[in-house]
């Protein structure tokens, strides 16, 4: 069953062609890793899925909602589509617990007792139950990102989007976050789109890897096939660079 479907999607920033004829389908429960050079359009691509970016033409259907249709209520889509950012974007004026409880209370009108139980459950899952009263400024980057993941999960979404969730983290924190993401991928039927260059993560849990360059999808393959046997020269070049870096 199709959860996300791009059909001939084009996106311009003024004159700049940021997404070029994107065709991409992600089925329910699938985990798709998106990678490509800096500035290739990964963020733009993933941000169109929950309407943080609009697009110029084409069709995009997410969880049955048509994003090209002006009448579509974007908040209905976002209710079921969580997003985790490179720079966390936690609510700086709220405690960890309030960060997680706010949207379920305001958007889902979840009962307050149940809301707290759910929040604690997800905080426990990301290993931060002892931080409920901390403010984001008191957390490390890795802790912030795990709170951000718990915040999205508390909405019980069908889709989770991750835009370079470990790129801003110190190396020793990266695994804590990747492990949480792996757990979601392996123990739930969450549909996940993950922009990341972490090869270990992609090989372990990704059903597919999508390589994008200059706004164009160049490869769309299984992780094994992509890493062992990239078909396109540009993908090969890119891989040799990130592998040397590790």
């Amino acid at each position: 069953m199709s959860m996300i479907k791009f059909k001939n999607v084009e996106k311009y920033y003024g004159e700049y062609h940021a997404l070029n004829n994107i065709n991409l389908e992600v089925n329910k429960g699938e985990v798709v890793v998106v990678l490509g050079p800096s500035g290739s359009g990964k963020s733009t691509l993933i941000r169109t899925i929950n309407g943080l970016e609009d697009f110029s033409s084409g069709q995009l259907v997410v969880n049955g909602f048509d994003l090209a249709d002006k009448k579509t209520d974007i908040n209905k889509i976002r209710k079921d589509v969580g997003m985790v950012f490179q720079h966390f974007n936690l609510y700086d004026n709220k405690t960890v617990l309030e960060n997680i409880m706010l949207a379920p209370r305001l958007v889902l009108k979840r009962d307050e007792k149940e809301n707290k139980e759910t929040a604690l459950e997800f905080l426990d899952m990301v290993g931060l139950k002892d931080k409920i009263n901390a403010k984001p400024s008191q957390l490390s980057g890795g802790q912030k990102q795990r709170v951000a993941i718990a915040r999205s999960l508390a909405m019980k979404p069908k889709v989770m989007l991750f835009d370079e969730p470990t790129s801003a983290l110190d190396p020793e924190m990266i695994d804590d976050v990747l492990n949480v993401m792996k757990k979601i991928a392996q123990t739930t039927d969450m549909t996940m789109v993950v922009v990341t260059h972490e090869m270990g993560f992609a090989r372990e849990v990704a059903d597919r890897v999508v390589f994008i360059d200059q706004g164009t999808i160049i490869e769309d393959d299984t992780a094994e096939e992509f890493y062992n046997n990239p078909k396109e020269e540009r993908a090969r070049k890119f891989l040799s660079k990130i592998i040397v870096h590790k």
């Binding site: 929950n50 943080l52 908040n75 976002r78 209710k79 589509v81 969580g82 997003m83 950012f85 720079h87 966390f88 974007n89 936690l90 609510y91 700086d92 004026n93 709220k94 706010l102 949207a103 305001l106 958007v107 889902l108 951000a148 915040r151 999205s152 909405m155 989007l161």
Partner: protein, 212 residues
């Protein structure tokens, strides 16, 4: 100085009362109106943000006395008569709201865009995000300049004296011209203004320390 106060305490008291009342009204409404235009100016919609910009530039760049006179003299010619107190309070509200709008807008725009994106992608509507995430952070940031605006507002309420608003300044003026004891009269007036402004300044500092 004491004898002037003792002999005329009822006059000073009524002036003091009117100054405080005008200030509270103008402070409340200029904060509401100013914040409204500040938010409006950050809208994507060019028409609405342009309208907010025009409002702010208009009232920020006309002398307070001119705005007040407009309501005291011109307005009644076309609509209905209003008291000097009302004209002065309206003038002061509009004038101050433009400065507060500028201050609050700067506060809103200095909040990282990621706060709004985090909230919207979490499912909150624009207004829920504004109310719960953006504005609380913006206001904490602008407490010091807002404090200055509030103190200016109280001092500027002396514009009521020009339109028979029976405020502290007006009562001081009329006492001084009756008794010719100008020095002592204006000393009392000055001290009474300090009694309003100093605690307010102190309170804003306290708020700043508490919230940061």
């Amino acid at each position: 100085m004491i004898h002037v106060l003792v002999n005329n305490w009822q006059v000073f008291l009524s002036g003091f009362f009117n100054t405080v009342l005008c200030s509270i009204l103008a402070l409340f409404f200029s904060l509401v109106i100013g914040s409204g235009f500040a938010i409006m100016e950050t809208f994507q919609n060019k028409f609405l943000s342009g309208f907010a910009r025009a409002y702010i530039e208009l009232f920020r760049n006309i002398p307070l006395l001119v705005i007040t006179m407009f309501f005291y003299v011109v307005f009644p010619q076309y609509f209905f008569t209003i008291s000097g107190f009302a004209a002065g309070t309206i003038g002061l509200t509009l004038y101050t709201s433009s400065f507060i709008a500028e201050t609050v807008r700067a506060g809103i725009q200095s909040i990282d865009i990621g706060q709004m994106e985090g909230a919207r992608s979490n499912g909150l509507t624009y207004w829920q995000a504004m109310k719960n995430i953006i504005l609380p952070q913006a206001f904490v940031l602008v407490i010091p300049p807002l404090g200055n605006q509030f103190v200016n507002l109280i001092k500027n309420s002396s514009v009521l004296a020009f339109v028979a608003g029976f405020d502290l300044m007006y009562q001081g003026d009329s006492l001084a011209s009756q008794t010719f004891d100008t020095i002592n009269t204006y000393l009392v007036v000055g001290v009474l203004y300090l009694i309003i402004t100093l605690p307010l300044s102190y309170y804003m500092k306290h708020l700043e320390n508490k919230l940061s």
